[in-house]
Structure formats: structure tokens, C-alpha cells
């Protein structure tokens, strides 16, 4: 279908410290014991997209991601891992790999998505309208990331809602305005000519940008070349294209006019009639109306695809989101995880050992080779591989990564214990994050803390 897929897998996201580290780049952060990148790859594979370019920030991270990819899915997918310098932004990353891009259109997917929205829908919308850029919007999670997990929320990990404000035309096909909710303080500017041309604009704050875009390659590269200052797709390139859609200086469709020039006079005349018939037949979008109103104006279209509300979409961009994703994948959205659930709605690996009187509740996951002592209680939590958990431990709403050691009598609520971390006896954690390899002392009672080595 002449589409190229670029996955922007990022590097070490500062939002996710201490979960990410030099050892674990963001793309490999485990969600239900699988790297988050695998969800994206699965989604693309199910859509028959097997030629992928994964862009990773930083050489080390790229090596790690590449290693994982080659071990996990070398036989199924054809993945190219490209390393780019750190902190050059998404636009910079695309600039760096521009020479790899050859297809007519490019699908850009963020690497931290857990979703079941078919990317084909975006591509189809893009093609249908012959757009320059198509953005997938999805409904803001209704329950909001903040009040998730019942007891765990309402604390300092709660981030200000960074919704996007989007302006749509009355058919919800075109994007007229986009801004980040946090950027808008008191007032904002809306392009008057666009408003006049479209007639009506619907401003919505209940939709968020899903970081899945389809770009026309020629336009994207032109913009990247012309505007070296642009760093981010979302914050620079996209608003720029939306802003300039009625006074386009990108050469979107002009090449076919040139092609016609070499034909005979009569033929050219026919071509004109032909294109006229075709354009007359379709309901003109406001772009065309605007174009026809004044000569020598060029426009381009920025389309949106609004995902169905029943679809699941989560971006892993904060610690809270990480908790949510883990909870959802083994809970409501368990078809994404690819695991088969037991009758108790949980997954306990056959090699996991459970002590006597230990209960593992629904929506739980126990990884391969983990040992849980006596009289433990695990509720709505994900426990990684080869963890050792002592007796009388209570784990609720938490994520325990591989090889963690938890001493007897610990109580963990709403926390993330990274791999190789160690909790000594009777430690009580509530809404805490423990960095990989950190040792939490015995008997301490902590709430909302981040344990990291300085």
C-alpha cells in the first residue's frame, strides 16, 4: 500500500524515572511482563505491516532495543533499528532518518502505545482525502489517569491533565486547530481565514492526540528541511501544517500538473475536462472552495481520524500511566496481552510456586519461576519472573518486576518495584517507586516516595 512505518521508540524518558534506567530504555519497560514495544509491534503485525523502522534515541538504548527485537521477532518482522542522537526531538529523529524514507506516505507511531486501534484506519482516511497529514485522535480516558486504581490515586504523581484542544470542521474530517491544553493559559489565537473558510469550528477538549500520524512523505521532508528549528512533530510540525493549510507553501499536488504539460494540446484539454468532471462530482471540501475563490492559492488538507470510543488506547508517558497500563492489560483490556487467562481471571505461570494459604486474586499475573511464601495476598498486581516473595506479604495494585526480592511481612500498595530491587522485612510501601537494584531497609514505612540512587 506504499506506506512506510516509523516507530519512534524514544530513549530514556525523564517522566518515567526511576522506572527507566540505562539498562531499561522506555521501549523495553515491561507491561505485563512484556516490553511495551512488543505491543506496538504486535498491533502493526496484525495489520500486516512487517517492514518497520524503529528509531531509538541514543546508541546504548538502540543496542538494547535492537537486541531485544532480534531475539523476539526476527523471524516474523523485518525491523530496522536506527539510533539517533539524544534530545533532538521527534522531528529531529525523522530528519536524521530521512534518507531511509522512500514511500509515498509515512505512518509514524509512537513506541509507547498500548492500543487496539487499527492503524490502517488512519492510513485509509489519509488516502481517501489525499491529505498532507492525518492525525488519530482518541477519546480521553473517561476515568482519567489520576483517579485510577481506587486507593492509589490522588497524590503527587497526579499530573495536570495535559489534554489537547482540537478544532474540527462540522463533518469531523479536518483538523482546523490543535494546541496542547497546558499551553493555553487564558486566551488563544484561532486562524481567522480557516474559520471563515470552514464556516464552523468545533473545539473539543475530550479528544487527545494519539501520536499516530500519517504524513505525506514529500511534505514532511520539505517541512523538516525548511524549518530546521522544528524539534517536535506534535508541537511544531503539526501545528505548523494545520496553521498553514489555506496558504500552503508545500508542494503537495503540483507535480501532476507538470506531468500534463508534455501532452498534446488536445490531450491536455481533455485532462482538464477530466479533472473537472472528477472534482465536480465530489462534494467540495472547504479547501477546494477556498482555492477556487482566489486564484493561485494552494491549500493542503489536515485530516483527523477519530478512533472509536470502545477501542483501548493508552500511552505510557508517566508513572501513573504505567500503573494504569499494567492494570488494564491484565484487567479490562486483557485481549491485548496475548495471554490466556485462567478461570480466576489471572495468570499464574505453571512454574511459579505458591506457599500455603496464599491467595492470588483476579487480574493478577505471576511470572515464570517466581516464588511466593505462605499466607500472602496478591491483588490486581503484576509480578515478574523469578521474584522471591516471603511470607505474609501483601501486594495490592502494584507492579513487581523481574528478579525482585521482597522480604517477609512487607506490604506494598500502588507501587512499582523495579527489577533486582530488594525489600527487606516488614517494609511498608504505599505509592512508591523503587529503582532497579535499590535496597529498601527493613521495617520502614514509606508513602509516595521515590527510591533511587543519587
Amino acid at each position: 500500500m506504499d506506506f512506510q512505518v516509523v516507530i519512534l521508540a524514544g530513549g530514556f524518558s525523564s517522566n518515567l524515572v526511576p522506572l527507566v534506567s540505562k539498562e531499561v530504555p522506555k521501549a523495553l519497560l515491561p507491561v505485563a511482563n512484556r516490553p511495551v514495544l512488543s505491543y506496538v509491534l504486535d498491533l502493526l503485525e496484525s495489520n500486516n505491516l512487517k517492514d518497520l523502522i524503529v528509531v531509538v534515541e541514543g546508541e546504548d538504548a538502540a543496542l538494547k532495543v535492537g537486541g531485544w527485537i532480534s531475539s523476539a521477532c526476527v523471524d516474523r518482522l523485518h525491523v530496522e533499528v536506527a539510533a539517533v542522537a539524544e534530545n533532538i526531538g521527534t522531528a529531529g529523529a525523522l530528519r536524521a532518518i530521512a534518507h531511509h524514507l522512500t514511500a509515498k506516505d509515512i505512518l509514524i507511531v509512537s513506541g509507547d502505545i498500548v492500543s487496539d486501534i487499527p492503524p490502517g484506519a488512519v492510513a485509509a482516511t489519509h488516502r481517501r482525502h489525499d491529505a498532507v497529514v492525518t492525525v488519530m485522535l482518541c477519546a480521553q480516558p473517561v476515568s482519567g489517569p489520576s483517579e485510577s486504581g481506587g486507593s492509589s490515586g490522588k497524590d503527587k504523581t497526579k499530573k495536570p491533565a495535559c489534554e489537547d484542544i482540537v478544532g474540527l470542521d462540522s463533518w469531523k474530517q479536518f483538523l482546523l486547530y490543535i494546541a496542547k491544553g497546558t499551553e493555553i493559559k487564558k486566551d488563544t489565537r484561532v486562524n481567522k481565514s480557516i474559520l471563515c473558510a470552514a464556516g464552523k469550528m468545533e473545539l473539543r477538549s475530550d479528544l487527545m492526540d494519539s501520536h499516530i500520524y500519517a504524513f505525506k512523505r514529500s511534505v514532511l521532508q520539505e517541512v523538516l528541511d525548511q524549518k530546521p528549528a522544528f524539534r517536535s512533530l506534535k508541537q511544531d510540525v503539526l501545528p505548523y501544517l494545520v496553521r498553514t493549510q489555506l496558504r500552503s507553501d508545500v508542494s503537495s499536488d503540483q507535480n501532476n500538473v507538470e506531468e500534463n504539460g508534455n501532452g498534446k494540446d488536445n490531450m491536455q484539454n481533455n485532462e482538464v475536462v477530466l479533472s473537472q468532471i472528477l472534482s465536480n462530482a465530489s462534494l467540495p471540501s472547504f479547501h477546494q472552495v477556498y482555492e477556487s475563490g482566489l486564484d493561485s492559492r494552494k491549500t493542503h488538507k489536515c485530516c483527523v481520524y477519530i478512533a472509536d470510543e470502545s477501542k483501548i488506547f493508552v500511552r505510557l508517558n508517566s508513572i501513573q500511566a504505567f500503573m494504569d497500563v499494567n492494570r488494564d492489560v491484565i484487567g479490562d483490556a486483557n485481549h491485548l496481552s496475548g495471554y490466556s487467562f485462567s478461570a480466576h481471571h489471572n495468570i499464574v505461570h505453571p512454574s511459579a510456586e505458591l506457599g500455603s494459604k496464599t491467595t492470588v486474586g483476579p487480574h493478577c499475573m505471576l511470572g515464570e519461576g517466581s516464588q511466593v511464601g505462605d499466607k500472602c495476598s496478591v491483588k490486581r498486581s503484576v509480578i515478574g519472573r523469578h521474584c522471591r516473595i516471603g511470607s505474609n506479604v501483601k501486594i495490592v495494585n502494584s507492579v513487581v518486576m523481574d528478579h525482585a526480592t521482597i522480604g517477609d511481612g512487607c506490604s506494598i500498595q500502588g507501587s512499582v518495584i523495579c527489577s533486582n530491587a530488594q525489600l527487606q522485612e516488614r517494609a511498608t510501601l504505599r505509592d512508591c517507586q523503587v529503582e532497579a537494584g535499590y535496597i529498601v531497609c527493613a521495617g520502614g514505612e514509606h508513602k509516595g516516595e521515590t527510591f533511587a540512587r543519587r
Binding site: 506504499d2 465536480n280 462530482a281
Partner: protein
């Protein structure tokens, strides 16, 4: 052969909607039973519908050779079947017959007590007309042995052969309905056949040869089995038993005739490949299920359908588009240009027959450009199957219009005619140029010709009324304005698409004097009009105009006010079918479009409630048919003609139309 011929001669009228199942048999001439082919031939050639589709390609299995070889010699000479095939076939049967002559004559004479009017022709008709209507089985059973069918599978007991024929002809009838456009090349009249010996020669398709072979095999097997049975109990000799038997047998006809039916199905399949499938009967459960399994686009049919239009596809609009678009990457078999066109058809981005046809052809052109023949495959065959896949995809997106069907037929013909020694790039280039030529000559040039002709009919001071939006009419109006004619335009429009608005906007921007009104005001506004210009989706060979719904109303009102109605239609939209009503073939649009009125959009909840109401059905018809008596003149590439001349044009120019 005789009975088959008889069936062909009958105009294809499909009865849909409400009718009494036990209809009295149409009056059929009383002819000597055996040698029918003479008179039937005569009716065939005299009938204006002689060149009705799916002529001689009917599988040879089903064609019973007549007793007198001389009778069907003529037809065989003209038939596209290779000579050795049927000859051998006939020999077989002749041989069999010589064995069992006595046996089959007995039931024949016994059943001769049935009314003589029910000869083979009638029964064939009744089956092909009411393929599903098995109620008049007694008539059938009486008629078949009578009408020379005893010769077909003489070896079998009469009831067996009858069931074969019944199922076969039933399926035949259905298929004929399904393949609306049919095979134009297979012409039944002799003179035309002689004109095109070449095209007929290369029509000995694989399917036919295989069918013949299988027929022979079947006949052999039947002969063997029959021989055994004959030795055992001599069933055939007992006519009473034979006459009684049909009733229980009828309930499971496929068992006794599995072989021949299989071949029939195979042939049918092959044939269907050739022909752009314009229509499927959606009230036929098994077929719909089969189609669903094949379908690329997942579709859910609407539950609340209007009973009269059950045979037309109607899907839930909302479910189709997301489904199709989410499969964007998984549909590898569909070329992306074709995919885009399909998407645009589905979403309604492109409307208008010319535009749809052009878009489709351009997509095909692009697909052909990107096409490479896989190894070990023939370009002609493989490309045809590819195109077939695209076409069925497009049909799933939206039923094809008649003109698109014609264009597809042209393209396939072009592919079939490719010289074998042509290299792949050459073949592709030739096909692309053919497509370009079709667009240029058949659509654009003919539009120009039509404009030239029609403008001569516009005089100063006239008030021209037009309905909806037709690109030819727009061109005419703009051109007439350009050359300085002074006239006024009345644009009549109708919900829900309001296509006239597009026309209005463009005309007004060019400075034409326009009046815009809706169709409910037609009788008032018609007083002002001096001429009515209409566009067309298709014109059938009985002169019926098939166009956007509401056109008939406009034409009739114009007729009542004695305003001349001028239809502008490119000749490639002419179709050899005959249409009597707008029920048989039509298209159902989005029912919600009728229900949702923009100004009442706030009451969306209410309409939701209405959607679930079982007692409420929405009908959004897309087309209607205008009888030819309401049309004063048709302007086409061949000049200004009365609607009665359409069959002539279709007959005389169709070949040229198809082959360019």
C-alpha cells in the same frame, strides 16, 4: 437445444415484489412436440431482444440434442463449441438412445395426457422466471418429457432426467438474473453470428471443453447405472411408477443429478468470471452467505428492510467504512488505487456516473501499470482474475452502475483480445492506452458532441429546467452561456443528497440566471419551463431511462405540461437490458439519510429510538426508471435520437462500443 432456445427468446422479466405464486401459465403456441427449433428460431430473430445476454454459452451439458440432427445442425455450426466436442457428445447419446428407445417412449405417451399447451418452452420459462417457485411441479413433470427432453438423458428414468433439468434450469434462471449484462458477444441471431466468426471462435473456453467432457462422462456413468437397473427391475417399462415418482424425488433434486449439476455450477462459475456482476439477489440466502464468505469488506445487513426491496443489498452504513478502513493494510490483494476509489465510493466522496466510471478506470489503469505477471502464469488469465477481484471489491463498496459495467466489459474484452505474442510491457502499455482512449472517446469526446448537439436546441429566452446534477447538463448550460445564449435555468433538487446545490453554486458563479427549488414544487415551477434537460445513469434498450430517483416524476410532470424532455446520455451508458420497473434493479442508499433531517439534528436521540422500531422501515431509493413515452429526445454521441432508436444503436454499435 429447442427448449433452451425458447427460454432465451423470452425477455428477461424478473418478478419481484408481490405476485401470486400460482400464476396461470402464459399462453404458448401449440407446436409439434419434437421439432421446435425452427419456429423458436424464428421468434428469436424477430424479437428485439434476440441478442439477450448469455446466449450460446449455456453449458452443453444442459443442452439436449434433438432427435433430428438436421434440426440443430445449423445452431451447432454457429455455436462457439468446437465441432468435435458436440459431435462426440451426440454420438454418445445417440448410442444410448438406440439402446433404450422403447423405454422412454412409454412414459412419454402416458404423460401425453397432460395439456398440450405445457410444452418445453413454457416450463422453461416458468422456471427461469420463478426460480424459487416449485409449486407447479405437476405441470413441470408433465411438460418435460413432452418437450423433447426425453432425448437428453434418455438413459435415465424420466423422473430423474426431469429433476436434473429442473434444478439446472432453475439455477440457470437465477444465474441469468444475476448476470444482468451477460455476454454480449454470444448472439443468438444467425446473421450477426456470421459477422463475427473470429470472436466466436476464440470463445471455446476451457470451461466449455471441460463441461463437454464431463457431460460425456456423466452420460456414460448414467448409461451404466441405468443398464444395471434395467436388468434388475426394468423401471422404465413401468410407466405408472415413473409417473408417480416425481413427488418424493423433487424434495431432494441435487442427489440424483449431482454430477451434471456440478458441471453446471462449474460452467456457471467460469461464466460469472467473465461478466461484471452487476446484481445479486439478496433475498437468496445461500448466495448471500456464499458471497459473505468471499467478501473483503465485512458488512452487516440492515435488519429493517422494506419487503419489496429485499433483493437489493442494504448494509448498515456506519459499520462498513470503519471496517474497510481498518483493514487497510491487510488487504494486500487490492491495489491501493482501487482501494482508494472503493473507499471514496463507499464514503460517497465520488458520486455521479461519469466520475465514478472515470475514477474506476483510472484506478485500473494504475493497477495495470503496477502489475507484473507472476511466473508460470498467463497475463491474460491472471490479469482478468485480478480485475475480477477489484471489481468484486468495488461492488462490495457500492453496487456498480450500468456504465461501469460496460466499461469493465470493455476492459476485459481488451485483455482477452491481447495478442499472445505481446510482451508484458507492451501489453500493459496497450491496455493503458485503451483505457485512456475509452475515457477520452467514450466519455469526454462524447460529452463534447452532446454539448454541441444540445446547445442547438437552446434558444434565447428559454427557461431550462434540470433535475439534480448531471455533468453533461452542466457542460451544456455553461457552454450555451458562453456562446451568448440568453436563458434562465431552473434547478430542481431533492433531499437527501441535494446534488443540485453543487450545480447551482457553479452556475451562479459563472453568472447564469438560476432558480433553485425542491422537487415538491415541481408542478408549480414546471409552468415556467420551456425545456427539461435530464442526465442519465443508463438507458435501456426499451428506451427506459434509468436515472436518479425523482427523474421520472420530473419527466412525467413535464409531459403533463407538454414541455419537451431532453435526456443527455453518453452512448457508453446504453444497455441492452430491458427494464420495466424500478424495483428489479435499483440501489438502496443509506436509510439514515432519509431519516435525519439536518434542521432536526438536535433530535438525534429521537431518531435513534426510531431506528430500533420494528414497525418502521426506511427506504432510500437511489434510482428510478422513466418510461420512454415521457422522453421526447435523447442526445447522445450518435446525435439526437428518439428513445425508440436505442435498441438500434445498442444492436448496431454495441460491438463497436465494446471493441472501440
Amino acid at each position: 437445444m429447442d427448449t433452451r432456445r425458447g427460454a432465451l427468446a423470452v425477455p428477461k422479466v424478473r418478478r419481484v415484489g408481490f405476485f401470486t405464486p400460482t400464476e396461470p401459465p402464459p399462453e404458448s403456441s401449440q407446436r409439434p412436440n419434437r421439432s421446435q427449433s425452427g419456429p423458436v428460431e424464428a421468434t428469436t430473430s424477430s424479437s428485439p431482444l434476440s441478442d439477450s445476454p448469455s446466449g450460446n454459452l449455456i453449458s452443453p451439458v444442459l443442452i439436449p440434442p434433438s432427435r433430428h440432427h438436421s434440426d440443430n445442425l445449423t445452431s451447432h455450426a454457429a455455436a462457439p463449441v468446437p465441432v468435435p466436442g458436440p459431435a462426440a457428445f451426440r454420438r454418445y447419446l445417440a448410442h444410448d438412445r438406440s439402446l433404450h428407445v422403447g423405454s422412454y417412449n412409454a412414459p412419454d405417451s402416458l404423460l401425453g395426457t397432460s395439456p398440450p399447451s405445457s410444452n418445453g418452452e413454457f416450463s422453461e420459462d416458468s422456471v427461469s422466471l420463478f426460480g424459487f417457485q416449485r409449486s407447479d411441479s405437476t405441470k413441470l413433470s408433465a411438460s418435460f418429457p413432452n418437450g423433447g427432453f426425453d432425448l437428453t438423458l434418455a438413459v435415465r428414468a424420466p423422473q430423474e432426467s426431469e429433476t436434473i433439468i429442473e434444478t439446472a434450469s432453475a439455477s440457470e434462471g437465477k444465474k441469468k438474473i444475476a448476470e444482468v449484462s451477460g455476454k454480449s458477444e454470444s448472439v443468438t441471431t444467425k446473421p450477426q453470428k456470421e459477422k463475427e466468426p473470429k470472436s466466436l471462435k476464440d470463445k471455446t473456453t476451457k470451461a466449455e471443453r471441460r463441461a463437454i467432457q464431463e457431460a460425456q462422462r456423466a452420460a456414460k456413468a448414467a448409461a451404466k447405472g441405468e443398464g444395471k437397473r434395467h436388468a434388475d427391475e426394468s423401471v422404465e417399462a413401468n410407466p405408472g411408477k415413473a409417473a408417480k415418482k416425481p413427488q418424493p424425488k423433487k424434495e431432494r433434486p441435487p442427489i440424483s443429478s449431482s454430477v451434471s449439476e456440478k458441471t453446471a455450477v462449474a460452467v456457471e462459475k467460469e461464466k460469472r468470471m467473465d461478466v461484471p456482476q452487476t446484481q445479486m439477489q439478496y433475498d437468496d440466502k445461500s448466495r448471500v452467505d456464499k458471497a459473505k464468505r468471499r467478501a473483503v469488506v465485512e458488512q452487516t445487513e440492515t435488519k429493517n428492510k422494506v419487503e419489496l426491496f429485499l433483493h437489493l443489498p442494504q448494509y448498515e452504513r456506519g459499520s462498513q467504512l470503519p471496517n474497510l478502513s481498518s483493514n487497510f493494510f491487510t488487504l494486500d490483494t487490492i491495489h491501493h488505487a482501487v482501494y482508494k476509489v472503493g473507499l471514496q465510493h463507499l464514503a460517497g466522496d465520488i458520486s455521479g456516473d461519469n466520475a465514478r466510471c472515470i475514477a474506476m478506470l483510472q484506478a485500473f489503469e494504475e493497477a495495470i501499470k503496477d502489475y507484473t505477471t507472476p511466473p508460470m502464469k498467463d497475463l491474460t488469465m491472471d490479469l482478468t482474475t485480478k480485475i475480477n477481484g477489484y471489481v468484486s471489491f468495488l461492488i462490495e463498496c457500492r453496487p456498480l452502475s450500468m456504465s461501469m459495467g460496460n466499461a469493465i466489459r470493455f476492459l476485459k474484452n481488451q485483455i482477452r483480445k491481447l495478442p499472445v505474442n505481446l510482451s508484458e510491457p507492451e501489453a500493459k502499455a496497450s491496455l493503458c492506452s485503451d483505457i485512456g482512449r475509452f475515457i477520452d472517446e467514450k466519455i469526454i469526446l462524447s460529452d463534447k458532441v452532446i454539448v454541441q448537439h444540445a446547445v442547438s436546441k437552446i434558444r434565447d429566452g428559454e427557461v431550462l429546467l434540470t433535475y439534480g446534477f448531471s455533468c453533461v447538463v452542466e457542460m451544456i448550460l455553461l457552454y450555451a452561456h458562453e456562446i451568448g445564449k440568453k436563458f434562465r435555468v431552473v434547478i430542481v433538487d431533492a433531499r437527501p443528497n441535494l446534488e443540485g446545490k453543487k450545480l447551482l453554486r457553479r452556475l451562479v458563479s459563472r453568472g447564469l440566471d438560476c432558480t433553485y427549488t425542491h422537487i415538491n414544487a415541481i408542478s408549480y415551477i414546471m409552468r415556467e419551463a420551456t425545456r427539461v434537460f435530464l442526465g442519465a445513469s443508463s438507458i435501456f434498450s426499451n428506451g427506459t431511462l434509468y436515472s436518479k430517483v425523482g427523474t421520472a416524476c420530473v419527466a412525467m410532470v413535464a409531459n403533463a405540461f407538454s414541455v419537451p424532455v431532453i435526456v443527455c446520455c453518453e452512448a457508453y451508458k446504453f444497455h441492452e437490458r430491458v427494464l420495466l420497473d424500478s424495483i428489479c434493479s435499483n440501489e438502496l442508499g443509506d436509510p439514515d439519510a432519509v431519516a435525519n433531517i439536518p434542521s432536526f439534528s438536535t433530535k438525534a436521540k429521537q431518531s435513534k429510538m426510531m431506528d430500533n422500531n420494528k414497525n418502521l422501515q426506511f427506504l432510500n431509493l437511489m434510482y428510478d426508471s422513466t418510461p420512454s413515452e415521457y422522453i421526447s429526445m435523447i442526445v447522445s454521441d450518435y446525435g439526437m435520437i428518439p428513445p425508440t432508436s436505442i435498441p438500434v444503436i445498442v444492436r448496431e454499435y454495441r460491438r463497436e462500443n465494446l471493441l472501440l
